[in-house]
């Protein structure tokens, strides 16, 4: 006779112990994962770390990325240019809010695949050299973009097309901001996706009138691959942008990862890059935006052409979004104002646009000082 037959009440100890074990394991793993873990690493100077970042020791990175955005934006899915634009089909606009899970594969600068996971859907950007495919499973559409040959080796995740919310892309954007107005430091370490990493912090000097409080880039100690990027706004305590690996490996992905053949039954579009908004700097040569100021409080001031203005004010959904935005007026004119936590934008009634990681008054000041047209 077992003890459970003699003392049946003791049987309850088994489910209680099982429940306690489950609870302990669950709580244990979640606190370990979120614990402030600062591994001991040999000291490294910020300058050395910046150099290391530019030359990772491995070309291959794959893993799962969690991206959380707290940009304080209204629903922008209908706004061309601010949203995904015609190429990304609005999908990247939805990535600008909330938390998203992405799967990332890359093998060298020109080969990458980024998949944004939805419930029963997925958006993929597959790049192999100058060939970029965008796949949207919900719309069952595949869009083909061919990059100019000189950008075959440009090491952005997707050559500037489609959603680029990877730690690598975010780190590049952040490092682009390093200038004399920035304090660069490495006085901390972190553990990201189980790997020890150096934390590189970029802090705008107090003289910069910017919405950015601090940028932290966690750099893998062994491979120098950026594992996590966080951007804090002056307006909130939680990071406005938090993009980091939850799981990462440096194994070489199979070559088939970067092949994309449109499946049968899908709508296939070929978009010439010129019409593909979102490819930064490659279009609208005649109307390149003027940059007012420099460093963190630089403001891009541009003018929409008639087609773009018509698109913004003519299309129903876009007008609706625009109408949600508060209006303002002053010496610079009048127009709609978008106040995000990390950047603001002003669209004047006569079609001028100013965008920057600055408060709105800096934007309007730039508009007032910028030459018309």
């Amino acid at each position: 006779m077992s003890i459970f037959d003699r003392r049946p009440a003791l049987r309850w100890a088994v489910p209680v112990a099982a429940a306690a074990l489950v609870g302990a394991v669950a709580v244990g793993t979640s606190t370990v994962a979120s614990a402030d873990d600062h591994p001991d690493l040999p000291a490294v100077s910020a300058q050395d770390l910046l150099v290391d970042l530019a030359s990772p020791t491995t070309p291959s990175v794959q893993g799962t990325v969690e991206a959380t955005m707290r940009l304080g934006l209204p629903d922008l899915s209908g706004v061309p240019g601010l949203g995904g634009g015609p190429v990304a089909g609005g999908s990247s606009a939805s990535v600008l809010a909330g938390t998203h899970t992405l799967r990332v594969w890359s093998d060298g600068p020109g080969r990458s695949r980024v998949a944004v996971l939805g419930g029963q859907s997925e958006t993929d950007v597959v790049r192999d050299g100058t060939d970029v495919w965008l796949w949207d499973s919900a719309a069952r559409s595949a869009t083909h973009v061919t990059l100019p040959a000189e950008r075959a080796g440009v090491p952005s995740a997707t050559g500037g097309v489609g959603p680029t919310l990877t730690p690598d892309a975010a780190a590049r954007a952040a490092l682009g901001a390093v200038d004399p107005g920035t304090v660069v430091a490495t006085d901390d370490t972190a553990r990201v996706a189980g790997r020890p990493a150096y934390t590189l912090t970029l802090t705008p000097k107090p003289s910069e009138r910017t919405l950015v409080r601090e940028v932290a880039v966690d750099v893998d100690a062994a491979t120098h691959v950026p594992l996590r990027v966080r951007v804090w706004s002056v307006e909130q305590s939680k990071p406005a942008v938090d993009v980091g690996f939850t799981d990462v490996s440096f194994a070489t992905p199979p070559a088939s990862t970067f092949d994309f053949t449109p499946p049968a039954g899908a709508t296939v579009k070929t978009v010439p890059l010129r019409a593909g908004a979102g490819a930064k700097g490659s279009t609208r040569d005649a109307q390149d935006p003027t940059v007012v100021g420099d460093g963190w409080d630089a403001v891009a001031v541009g003018t929409l052409d008639d087609d773009q203005l018509a698109a913004l004010t003519g299309d129903g959904s876009t007008t609706e979004v625009l109408d949600q935005l508060p209006t303002a007026s002053g010496a610079w004119g009048s127009g709609h104002v978008l106040r995000g936590t990390l950047f603001s934008a002003v669209l004047t009634d006569d079609g001028r646009v100013a965008v920057g990681a600055v408060p709105v008054d800096v934007l309007t000041g730039a508009l007032a000082s910028a030459p018309q047209g």
Binding site: D5, A19, Q120, A138, P262
Partner: protein
Amino acid sequence: MRTPDDTTDDATADTTADSVPHRVPESIAETVRGATWRLLRSELRLVLSRRRNQAGLAVLAVVPVVIAIAVKVAGGGASDGSGSTTDSFVGSVAGNGFFVALAALSVEIGLFLPLAVAALSGDAIAGEANVGTLRGLLVVPVPRTRLLAVKYAAVVLGALLAVALVAVVGLVAGAALFGLHPVTTLSGTTLGLGAALWRLLLVGLYVGAFLAALGALGLFVSTLTEQPMGATIAVVLVSTLMWILDSISQLHAIHPWLLVDKQLAFADLLRDPVYTADLRLGLLTDLAYGVVFVTAAWARFGSRDVTS
């Protein structure tokens, strides 16, 4: 309905054969094992012969047929060039009948499949107690623990049968109305039909694991009461409540603790390569719920006085 005779006649012959049990332990073990198998067989026969269970299976099977016909009548959905997009497998049905099975499973996982498991597990113990056959069952030479295991096995097999039925009817209905073609994964790659059917099998097993965990909860509730309807309703309530809580994003802190939180992750099996992180979490949650509630049912069933 089971009568006291029905439940015992399999086993009484065996008990008489072993009139001196402590002398021949091997044959007792064999007898017990044989009785266990016979008990499971008779339990499954009983579950399948109940009219309400047959009616329940019919309702489960109707859903994929309705989905297939609805999409056919509506004339195409996402593939008709209207540009409509849906974040669901229903949108892919028009292009490929294979997706009827997946669409039906994602529709039924919220209520119909949990309801089926709740009904089975409500009958398992509380149902027997309610009609007074539980006491008779305990006379067979099968320890209570084995009896409980047989009851749980029958619930799990019933749940797997329900899932298989939905998937197979979905495939048949989809094949009839839209044909079966190589399957486009969510990632945009194409799987041959054979590989896709393997993925569907894995989807079925994943949903089956969820239902098995829910069945464990149901088995425990079933040992608490003599009212099978009460047990069934309680399980459906708990299941539905968990789906509701899981849909309220402000409660994200408790979501990992809910059994249903990762169940729709079966869609991850249709990605290429398969995304396993959420599937693994889902299976661990199933396991945790299963172990806790099966042992709780065992504790309750082993320590309670059975009077009816």
